[in-house]
């Protein structure tokens, strides 16, 4: 039986990748463990190893092919006596073409199994719906499509060029180029003095960062994920957030804590928590959670310049998503301002970060039902731009909040409370919250899907509050 070699997934969130290079050619003998090809994503380059012995009978996907969907057969290995001509060749399926940005080759080379046992399509993020162009950009500005990953890196690089007091520290940010490749190229440009690999020591390096900020430097502290920042939360809250107040305004703390927040895919309860509500509870912090690449860039630049401690919540699934970023020398987005991502008159949907995926998809579907939803992208969780929400609710009379975090004491709960206090007379229906389910994140694909909010949940809630 000829064995198909499939395009492997390098991570639970990978949907497609590029076939960078074949290291074996047709007719070569391969042994188990031989590296036969290199594949790359915008995150990493990895080697594909053979796990079967035989002859490389046929290469199905030539090198240089971009956007090869995970699990596509890329080659066939023949056992002794088998003939390539006997192989029925399936046509390689390319994923939907998405503008890919140039990726620097990563020094990382990790072996990945050539034939993944698990089909990962169940965890694929929904295609990104159309987003309105960024407001407050001069007319005629050119836009370039960038992934959020590139936008974040550009924001850091621009600010590091601008201000010698800005530096980046965290686990794997320098030589590895970032666990999620957000700091790619920074070590090469700025050197080891300003791009600092830390030991695995969240509590300690968060405190070191805060101490450096108290001395007037402007650290960007990357947490590999915000789940790990729980080890450091004392320094973030007790030291970073409170010292300015406790010192009567003497000691500032200009620091950005950033990294992926919330559920990625199939990483279970300890690696899937959404901390939006946690940090939004704390006076003395600002909490930012962008959805588009442009906002990611503009808000991160603003965050680095801000004299206060900023929690900058990114999302792993959004890292690879591309959207237009204005081509400006110094593009910043103000912290604390929500934006109307889609205007509507019938119901207000409030979301941020990956919650916008559900909200915008739902708005499209609702439109087909004759319900025009206004979608607000909060962008900043604290300070909360309640004015923009109220202005929208004054128009629509109805509101649904969308978040992946848990329901109790969530950001949605706060929005509901403030609407009841400040806009009660404008409400024509109870405000509903669409949230993650009140359980630790399960691992199994079907349960994980159930634990997360869905587009249908948002549609159902919007129909309930509009009584349609």
């Amino acid at each position: 039986m000829p064995t198909e070699v499939l395009m492997p997934a390098l991570s639970p969130t990978m949907e497609k990748g590029n076939l960078a290079k074949w290291l074996k050619k047709e007719g070569d003998t391969v042994k188990s463990g031989d590296v036969i090809a290199e594949i790359e994503t915008d995150k990493a380059t990895m080697e594909v190893e053979a796990i079967d012995e035989g002859t490389l009978g046929k290469i199905l996907v030539p090198e240089g092919t971009q956007d090869v969907a995970v699990n596509t057969p890329i080659a066939v290995i023949l056992a002794d006596g088998e003939d390539a001509s006997a192989v029925s060749v399936p046509s390689p399926k390319a994923a939907a073409p998405v503008p890919t940005a140039p990726v620097e080759p990563s020094p990382v080379a990790v072996s990945a199994p050539a034939t993944p046992a698990v089909v990962t399509s169940a965890v694929a993020a929904p295609p990104q719906p159309e987003v309105l162009p960024e407001p407050d950009v001069p007319e005629g500005t050119e836009f370039v499509n960038q992934t959020m990953r590139e936008a974040l890196r550009d924001a850091m690089a621009e600010e590091m060029r601008r201000d010698g007091d800005v530096f980046v520290m965290g686990e794997e940010v320098a030589e590895y180029q970032g666990a999620y490749k957000i700091t790619q190229g920074l070590l090469q440009e700025f050197g080891a003095r300003r791009v600092i690999d830390t030991p695995i020591t969240e509590h300690g390096f968060a405190g070191v960062g805060v101490g450096a900020a108290m001395a007037g430097l402007k650290p960007i502290v990357e947490f590999m994920t915000f789940n790990f920042a729980m080890q450091a939360i004392d320094q973030i809250i007790n030291s970073a957030a409170k010292t300015h107040y406790m010192s009567g305004g003497q000691i500032g703390c200009s620091i950005v804590f950033r990294g992926p927040n919330g559920a990625a895919a199939r990483v279970a309860a300890q690696h899937s928590q959404d901390y939006s509500a946690w940090y939004s509870h704390i006076p003395g912090l600002k909490v930012v959670a962008p959805y588009t690449a442009a906002d990611a860039k503009g808000l991160l630049k603003s965050a680095i310049r801000d004299p206060n401690p900023i929690i900058f919540l990114e999302n792993e699934i959004l890292y690879g998503h591309a959207s237009p970023v204005p081509k400006l020398d110094d593009y910043t987005v103000p912290i604390g301002k929500a934006k109307i991502a889609r205007p509507g008159k019938d119901v207000t949907l409030v979301a941020w970060s990956i919650g916008m995926n559900y909200a915008l998809k739902a708005a499209e579907e609702l439109s087909k039902l004759g319900i025009e939803a206004e979608v607000i992208d909060l962008r900043t969780i604290r300070p909360l731009d309640i004015e923009t929400i109220i202005a929208s609710v004054q128009k629509t009379g109805r509101c649904v909040t969308v978040e992946e975090g848990w329901p109790q004491s969530g950001v949605g709960s706060e929005i509901v409370a403030q609407l009841v206090e400040k806009a009660f007379d404008y409400l024509d229906a109870p405000v509903l919250r669409v949230t993650g389910k009140d359980v630790p994140m399960p691992y199994a694909a079907n349960l994980e899907k159930l634990a997360l909010p869905s587009v249908q949940d948002v549609i159902d809630a919007a129909r309930a509050v509009t009584y349609r």
Partner: protein, 362 residues
């Protein structure tokens, strides 16, 4: 400590001053990084040195006594941790610093602030929660700062200041400004995990930080040997290759000598240094602590035999560098100063209500 003391001509002073039950096994497995051989080297103090140390230690003592009094009168609220007994540590260490160096400590911080040169009025007014306090009355006893004097707090979370102080030293290193950071913490904080996370980074990056472990024998009510598997805190950096030494923290001369060595080491780019100060607090952990976990005799013995201020006073008198009257005059002057601070702290108005919402963000 005890072992090291034998090698020194001043061994008697040093040996006696060692707090009760100084770990006798210190001599056993000593790492080459340790410098205990130097621990007993005590600087010869000139007349001016002695008089200066006497005055500075007495300022702290009188300030703390006054604070205890105001606490008893209900003028100071919350927690109030007095430094009485430990004065030689901060006074000796401060002598090793230059302008631009930094100091950070935990919640027992009044002595550190005065040693840094902060105004007793501003410190006392913060204790009473008044607008003229260093934090405008918003920080209290445990949370005061003075960038001007290089004092970075005043931190209420036990051990947090160790990472923060490492970060202050990181900033010195980043800027290449030749500064160092004195990072103080107690024998209790020494068991916090982030202390070792910080040790690791400080040595890895050769940060100019001096870790001063003020071992006053009790972490609140828990004696050192009930909380620490290794009670020789100078060895706590051994696995990170950080040199450490035990110092008689009741002898200001020993502290100053050790401080000078440690600061020179850190300032010259060799990385962090650990000084374990063997010291003793006479009062309870805080004002509300009756200190039932130790005997009155133990406290009394320390007070009569090892008091840091009495040691200096006795030397001044012995060497006829000062008369009883002259020392009394200094004391009277300091009492006046602290009375003035207390008066200010009692009369100064509370912060304006509008201050509630200021200083949350910049």
């Amino acid at each position: 400590m005890v072992v090291a003391a034998k090698k020194s001509p001043v061994s008697k002073t040093v040996g006696k001053a060692a707090a009760p039950k100084a770990p006798a096994k210190a001599a056993a497995a000593r790492s080459p990084a340790r410098r205990s051989d130097k621990a007993a080297a005590v600087l010869d103090f000139s007349k001016d040195d002695e008089l200066d140390a006497y005055r500075r230690m007495l300022e702290i003592r009188r300030f703390e006594e006054k604070a205890g009094q105001l606490y008893g009168m209900g003028l100071i609220g919350g927690f109030c941790h007095l430094y009485i007994g430990q004065e030689a540590v901060v006074v000796g260490m401060q002598a090793a610093l230059k302008d631009g160096d930094q100091v950070i400590t935990g919640y027992r911080d009044h002595g550190h602030m005065l040693a840094c040169g902060m105004d007793p009025k501003g410190v006392m007014a913060e204790l009473t929660g008044r607008r003229g306090g260093y934090s405008k009355g918003k920080g209290g006893s445990m949370h005061m700062f003075s960038i001007e004097k290089g004092f970075f707090g005043g931190h209420g979370i036990v051990g947090a200041q160790v990472s923060l102080g490492t970060g202050l030293a990181f900033a010195d290193h980043y800027r290449g400004n030749g500064g160092v950071c004195l990072t103080y913490f107690g024998d209790g904080a020494a068991n916090q995990g982030q202390v070792y996370e910080s040790f690791n980074m400080a040595e890895l990056w050769k940060l100019p930080v001096i870790y001063i472990i003020e071992n006053n024998k009790y972490a609140m009510g828990t004696a050192v040997n009930r909380a620490s598997a290794q009670t020789d805190f100078s060895k706590r950096g051994t696995s990170f290759n950080i040199p450490g030494e035990q110092v008689d923290g009741m002898d200001v001369r020993a502290v100053k000598a050790a401080g000078a060595r440690a600061v020179e080491f850190a300032r010259s780019g060799k990385g962090p240094y650990i000084l374990e100060m063997l010291t003793y607090r006479y009062r309870g952990h805080s004002m509300s602590d009756p200190a039932k976990y130790r005997s009155k005799e133990e406290v009394q013995k320390m007070r009569t035999e090892h008091d840091p201020i009495e040691q200096v006073r006795n030397r001044l008198l012995e060497k006829k560098w000062a008369t009883e009257d002259e020392l009394k005059a200094i004391d009277a002057e300091i009492r006046d100063q602290m009375n003035a601070a207390a008066d200010f702290a009692s009369a100064d108005p509370e912060p304006d209500a509008s201050e509630l919402y200021t200083d949350v963000l910049r």
